[in-house]
């Protein structure tokens, strides 16, 4: 099985983006991945709010922009569109600070409301 080579900036950028997204008002947490969802069906399970499975970062070409796909669960007391926009802005600003030489294409999907 093959897998993409780790990108130089990916771990650092991923941590920074995950932190930024979690700090956005109206964001409950990043969407859990398959393991988090499976664990949630077990008795006594608690949501894994520290998971960053809802974050995908790719850089198709060396000189191209970052492609960042963010999946979030929003809080019920916030307007979904506003949360999505705030998340997108936070990610864009985060990339501008972490890697100012490269732009970012950011996609935000709200996968749940709690």
């Amino acid at each position: 099985m093959t897998q993409p080579a780790p990108l130089d900036h990916t771990p650092i950028l991923g941590e920074a983006i995950a932190t930024a997204v979690r700090g956005v008002p109206g964001v409950a947490f990043l969407s859990p991945g398959l393991t988090g969802r499976l664990r949630s069906v077990l008795p006594g399970a608690t949501p894994d709010r520290a998971s960053s499975a809802g974050l995908r970062i790719n850089r198709p070409t060396d000189d191209g922009p970052w492609r960042i796909d963010v999946r979030i669960v929003a809080r019920a007391d916030a307007r979904v569109l506003d949360v999505g926009r705030a998340t997108r802005s936070a990610v864009t600003e985060c990339v501008a600070v972490a890697d100012p030489a490269r732009s970012a294409e950011v996609s935000v999907t709200v996968t749940g409301i709690v």
Binding site: P6, G14, T35, V41, L81, S107, V110, T111
Partner: protein, 300 residues
């Protein structure tokens, strides 16, 4: 023409990429086979991923150990929950566009449908059923027809519209004096929720009354008559019929008003059945899905 691009296609759409860049499936496989390299042994993300797998295995062992008679153990409920989770992960429904076309913002249809159904349920005696939400004028392929594909796996689809159409089935109280007015009120509540809670650009809301049910015992009869409803409570200050498109606001879009014979039909649905498909046998179950609805993630 403005365009909207669906979430970026990942080269490994069904896999989870850890922040370090490695794929979850590879990390798990190498850990199980004992072939993990030095990176996995020191990387916090890979270690966390393997710890999660160990947690899952421990949970499975615990269930097995706590079951005295494995042959008599009914694993059906747990299996159902696990398969529900896997199904949701693999096929979470389709994303609906939010905001402006170039913003690349999305909300999953099942999430939006839950919000809109809840808005309809706030009407006394009204119970929402199937809710289908779709782009009003899609130009790309219907994503709901794609089998077992995560959103990232779908090729980019260009849309020239972010306008959304809603089709909602409801059950109404049998004693409702004015069904068209009730449908209008439900439509207004749905519109307010779509705008105020979600931010969807909804251009049409079709309400289909699929059944008439006995009203709750504690229901105030006045609340069944939309003429007596308080417009402030209903949020009518935000009403903008022009925005909704008058062609879709009229009672004609409630669906056909064919009331079947009383006492026939599903006992859980009330004593009188409003059949939107008069050609169907009157004794069949009340329709809960729109003719084109996938029903996925949008049922009650």
């Amino acid at each position: 023409m403005t365009t909207r691009i669906h979430p970026p296609e990942s080269p490994h759409p069904d896999d989870e990429q850890l922040p370090c860049g490695r794929l979850l499936s590879v990390v798990w496989t190498e850990w199980e086979e004992g072939t993990a390299d030095g990176h996995t042994a020191t990387c916090a993300h890979c270690l966390r991923a393997t710890a999660e797998l160990e947690d899952l295995e421990a949970a499975v062992r615990q269930v097995r150990d706590e079951t005295d008679d494995l042959a008599a153990y009914d694993a059906t409920p747990l299996t159902r929950r696990v398969m529900d989770v896997v199904g949701l992960e693999l096929r979470p429904g389709r994303p609906l566009p939010l905001g402006e076309p170039d913003e690349d913002l999305w909300v999953m249809e099942s999430v939006a449908a839950r919000t809109l159904r809840a808005a309809a349920d706030q009407m006394p005696g009204v119970r929402a059923g199937s809710c289908r939400i779709s782009p009003a004028e899609p130009t790309g392929p219907d994503r709901s027809a794609l089998p077992l594909a995560a959103p990232q796996a779908v090729p980019r689809v260009v849309r020239d519209s972010d306008r959304i159409a809603v089709q909602l089935d409801i059950r109404a109280p049998l004693t409702t004096p004015d069904l068209p007015a009730l449908a209008d009120e439900v439509r207004e509540r749905v519109r307010l929720a779509a705008d105020g809670r979600l931010g969807l650009n909804v251009v049409s809301i079709d309400i289909r009354i699929t059944d008439l049910t006995d009203p709750p015992d504690d229901m105030d009869p006045q609340h069944m008559d939309p003429q007596h409803m308080d417009p402030q409570h209903m949020g009518a200050q935000h009403t903008d019929p022009q925005h909704m498109g008058p062609d879709h606001m009229g009672p004609d879009h409630m669906g056909p008003h064919h009331i079947g014979p009383p006492g026939i039909g599903d006992h859980h649905m009330g004593s009188q059945h409003m059949d939107p498909h008069p050609t169907e046998p009157p004794s069949g179950p009340a329709p809960t899905n729109t003719p084109h609805g996938s029903g996925e993630g949008t049922g009650p």
